[in-house]
Amino acid sequence: MKKSRNSVLVLGAGIAGIQASLDLAEMGVGVHLVEGTPTIGGRMPQLDKTFPTNDCSMCILSPKMSECVRHPLITLHIKSSLEKIEGAPGDFRCTVIERAKYVDPVKCVSCGLCEEKCPVKIDDVFDEGLRKTKAISRYFLQSIPSEYTINAGHCLYLTKGVCRLCEKVCPTGAINYGDMDREIELNVNAVILATGIDPYDPIGFGHFGYRRYSNVVTSLEFERMLSASGPLSGHVARASDGRAPENIAFIQCVGSRDISIDRNYCSSACCMFAIKQSIIAREHNRDLSATIFYMDIRAFGKDFDRYYEKAQEQYGVEFVRSKVAEVRELRNGNLELKYTFENGDIQHREFDMVVLSIGLQPRAGSRELSGKLDIGLNRFGFCRSDTFRPLNTTRDGVFVCGAMNGPKDNPESVVSASGAVAGAMEYLDAARYEPSAGGGGVPEKHVTGERPRIGVFVCHCGINIAGVVDVKDVAAYAAGLPNVEHAENVVYACSTDCLETIKSRVAEHDLNRVVVAACTPRTHEPLFRQTISEAGLNPYLFEMANIRDQCSWAHMDEPEQATSKSKDLVEMAVAKARGLTPLERLPIEIDPEALVIGGGLSGMSAALSIADAGHDVYLVERAEDLGGNMRDIFFNFDGSDPQEFLSGLIDRVLGHNRIKVWRKASIEDITGYVGNFRTKLTGESGELEELSHGAVVVATGGQEHETEEYQYGRSSRVVTQKEFERMLHDGSFPAGRLREVVMIQCVGSREEGRMYCSRICCSKAVKNALQLRKRKPRANIYFAVRDVRTYGFAEEHYSELRDSGALFFRYTPDSKPTAELIDPEDPHSRVRVTVLDPVLEKEVVIDADLLVLATAIDALPENLKLARMLKVPLNSDGMFLEAHVKLRPVDFATEGIFVCGLAHGPKDMSESLVQARAAAGRALTFLRKKSILAEGTIAEVRRERCSGCGYCQAVCAYSAIEVDPEEQVAVVNDALCKGCGACVASCRCGALDLRGFSNIQLYSVFNSLVRETAEGVVN
């Protein structure tokens, strides 16, 4: 296999594609990121907030987008498509078509003049048609890359040969009407597909009146309405009369769980999406009432059930279990819903607005794509993958992640992306590499001790800034400030020629600090830092004043004030620059080995992925045998054999020359930090061993809840689903008749003390019930359920089970089923189960030959000890708490430690496998490097001032600062510190300082603005 090139093509730049690209690039692998639209970001930028934390979607995504566009190893191909993959895995030849953009991205400075002048208005796709855009535009405000593109189908010049206005107004000559589609060929080792999903188009649902009634909207349209950056600026209004709706109905499962339209799968995310929207809508308008019409609320993810509870308790969202039959428009634009309850009752109710919770479906053109790329699809048109190869397509070397192979929410997409990367590693070169510090090799000038010589560059940004702020005046003001050697105006500070100007001015005036007054450091600081380091200055001798966002944008109607504020901001930046000092990013060596804690499915899979990538792995299992909970799983929906897979996995682990396994082992202590962990453990022999390793994967698993409910333990006929599965496998059913089988769901889950859904029990029970059907076709199967949460493709099997005659009774926590032993003396007694049938509205009594309990999944009590050793948090349920539930789902805030499997939360085998791969992939982003660079802007302790009170330690999210117990002085771990400054703010002794943001620097900034408090005035 040829592995010389080391690059991967990623198709689709949504959150999954972005994550995959970033992970690969972090491992030193070149990435070609191919995206059809003019921007990266995918669906997430369209979302306002995200469940269950209500984080702003764009706020959490945009740092990843910026990182993606900046990374030197990632090449973006926007407005592009993948046409062909030829060759063999490890040596693919991909044909990509880059469509014409008609704007030269090198010249375009995103000033927006062209869009302003363009006469052609078209529907804005990003805003779901709720707003107009122009034929030359950015896809959305924060598009990345930010350059404009022309929509050739609407451009007057390209279609009719007239206009050329944009060309006339463009100050940089970036418009190029002669641009052509280009076919390029890319040689890559592997391909990762992440083309995502499309929202279901409910136009076919005539009875809900979408597009006919103006106040019926899709959930995605409603999301744009809720978004503060959306077309309505977050003020939800009805299209019919502009009135803010006071009561909104959400109709669930539009385009999901519907055999009639061949979509007999659950879209998995819409329940939470609707709950989130109802909460956000309520936050916008306290008087609003929201009603969700649903079949089952599928809040199966981590902390989802609490969010669902919160919607009911805190926000008064009403949940109505019923099926909406029809929506009718009334004269005033209101909508009347007709809906049926399970018992057949029909009701009518009026609403101001109706939101259709549309499902997720395969992307348009996915069949065509699958033909072109020779990959298989499942019967619904999603990319096909198997339970035990959940990230592989049917073609070797081509991986899949995100929602392309089945509906997923954000974190699952991110997890699958990191997992697919771990898969792709198989086809890549395993050599470790040394990341470069940047700087372009120019030797750094020594400036310490020199008098500050500051250069100030004030950007026009076309009219973006200069249209409001008198930039000439600002530059003149800057020139008069102390220590300013040079000040000038630049039209576009970020354009290539201006960057060259800055570099030559540094040389001409012997500048040792540079201030740019332009836009935001978030997007542009890295560029300017790079520029001054090319001019021989330490990159930290740079300061930025954001006179665009904070002056010309914020005060666009008050040019004078905007100008005066710009002067203040520039003066403050100069004051800060005066005190800037060169900072260094110190390298931290990384040990290449990994420690994996837990030898179940997740731990073993993670270990294999890391070991296959060429790293030694220490796998620690506390039990005598490997396999964990999977040892009790015997069936799978797709007919594959879990035990066969497991034994293959165990053989591979034990036979792997890079994996060392400890069984019956316990971990005594873990110290150190990313790249440099030290672990003490005792193995079977009882001998204490010490290991060094660079990363840790926590895969300790979970355990079945031990219930005392429903006569469990008092009769052999009351068993858990786990025991039942073994029974089905061994045929070890209780003696005698087996006609009446009752299954009770949510035993221990979703109630006080365990306010979470155990996620897998519904699917597991359905799976086992179907197995029972095969073995005992005449048995009657009864289910007592709260919500049936057979999300994703398990829905089909739920239908199959219902069609086979299984009966489902709904219960609530207040009306739980009861179980009595018919003969309490008999250890094999049959059980009398009483359950309230809400349809018949009476009690149903079943004398069960077997009662099967779907018991909850519990966190391991041992988690606490491990969490303390690793200094990582647990959630209130005792499960490991990841760094960010949406976008860092397998990382901890403390670097170099990762989590997967049941230790993180309940999940099935396939999901555990994906997450294990992801944890391995994330660990490899560190292990592949010989060293990493510590941040330059980190906290430092002035020992002589520290009193050792420990406030800093309490507030640090990264476990990067600790009080040395002997010296009574805080010590910063340079490798772990992220420079957030929380400890500095907490230190009343002034013993802590943030390099690059020192107290002295900040004080001089304040003083330049305020000078003196009012008390200083002498009357």
Binding site: C946, C949, G950, Y951, A954, R988, C989, I1000, T1013, E1015
Partner: protein, 394 residues
């Protein structure tokens, strides 16, 4: 007495009593001597009169013959006991098991310092007593003899008088606190005294002494404490009202602190200010001369030293959550600024915002070091209340 304290007392053991005879001072010294003799502790930390006769100093000793010169209930508080505890246990628990007899506010300061990693209580036995208040240092230095008799009068009445510190007149935590042992004598006739264990360690020590059971004295003591507490609470409310008026708005702050000479004595005397070097004494916080001149040019003039309000509000920000309202700051101020009134007033509010009270058991976490899902609920209302209180006419 709040029920929590009752529960603690139940856990800590039954109260003992000492019959009238030597009076509270003599009885306390006797008992401390016995404790050292019985091997319950290695050393004592007590106030002694200084040779010049006009102040007191903390002396640590183990020779019981020195006990006769100790002044268990000194009239003034020149060095806050919390500071003394810090000096002894700042780095570790210390080799000696020390019994320290202190005013309740001194013990509360010790508790706060313990939470801040500055005092280690592990080898300390803290003993408190019913405190009538401390006499102002200024008055005492001028006339120790008459101040001593005034203080003796305060002890017998259980109340601060004219030359007591303002902080003492408004103190409601003048009796039993989270100490290991408490000596209660307010309201007990003829110089009898209660000896109350406050912790298992205190109980263990007292059990070895063969003391008389004193439950019978409890009712009269408790009744007197709550009567006195009510009276002091009333004074406190009145003082808070005056303070609120005085410091309202920037002008109010300016007026209150306008005669500050920037000596930072308040900070040096404060038991809670634990920094090795105060931020406000550091170069960082000093205004650049150039900036002062520019400011003077802009405004037509400037007062020196600058940043006085910054210093005091800075200290409030740093310390008000732990402020035990001992009054050291006011006592240390050479220009008689009512620093303690301001600090007590602000401290009461910031502590209320976090549902926290300084000086309680050192097992309780400081609010800023504890992260809760819902914090500062209702703080908006508090701010609104404060605003409407401060400017009732608007």
């Amino acid at each position: 007495m709040i029920s929590g304290e009752e529960e603690r007392m139940d856990a800590a053991g039954i109260p003992y009593m000492i019959r009238p005879g030597k009076g509270p001072e003599g009885s306390v010294l006797d008992l401390l001597g016995q404790l050292i003799g019985s091997g319950g502790a290695d050393a004592l930390l007590l106030p002694f009169r200084v040779p010049s006769g006009d102040s007191f100093a903390w002396i640590m000793f183990s020779d019981v013959s020195l006990l006769k010169d100790a002044v268990p209930f000194p009239a003034t508080m020149p060095v806050q006991g919390g500071r003394a505890l810090r000096s002894l246990t700042r780095k570790e628990k210390g080799k000696l098991r020390i019994i320290a007899l202190m005013r309740p506010c001194e013990i509360r300061a010790g508790m706060e310092l313990s939470k801040l990693g500055q005092v280690n209580t592990e080898n300390l036995i803290l003993a408190s007593y019913d405190c009538p208040g401390a006499v102002k240092l200024e008055d005492y230095v001028a006339d120790p003899v008459s101040c001593d008799s005034a203080h003796s009068e305060m002890r017998s009445r259980g109340e601060p008088s004219g030359n007591a510190r303002s902080a003492c007149s408004t103190c409601v935590d003048f009796s039993m606190v989270d100490a290991d042992i408490h000596f209660g004598y307010f309201g007990i006739k003829d110089g009898g005294m209660l000896v109350l264990p406050g912790s298992p360690a205190g109980r263990a020590l007292l059990e070895g002494l063969n003391l008389e059971e004193g439950r019978g004295l409890l009712p009269q003591w408790e009744a007197e404490i709550s009567r006195l507490a009510e009276r002091r609470a009333a004074t406190r409310e009145e003082t808070f009202r005056e303070t609120a008026e005085r410091i309202s708005g920037f002008d109010g702050m300016l007026a209150t602190f306008s005669n500050c000479i920037g000596c930072h004595n308040c900070q040096s005397a404060c038991p809670i200010c634990y920094c090795r070097l105060c931020y406000f004494d550091s170069e960082v916080s000093r205004t650049d001369p150039e900036a002062l001149i520019t400011a003077a040019e802009k405004r037509g003039g400037i007062s020196i030293p600058p940043d006085r309000i910054m210093f005091h509000t800075g200290r409030l920000a740093h310390m008000s959550l732990s402020c035990v309202s001992c009054g050291q700051c006011s006592d240390a101020c050479p220009v008689s600024i009512p620093v303690a009134d301001v600090f007590s007033f602000v401290a009461e509010r910031t502590q209320r915002a976090f549902d926290y009270k300084s000086g309680r058991s050192d097992g309780e976490a400081l609010p800023l070091r504890r992260f809760l899902k819902n914090e500062l609920d209702g703080v908006h209302e508090m701010v609104k209340d404060a605003e409407s209180e401060a400017s009732p006419n608007e």
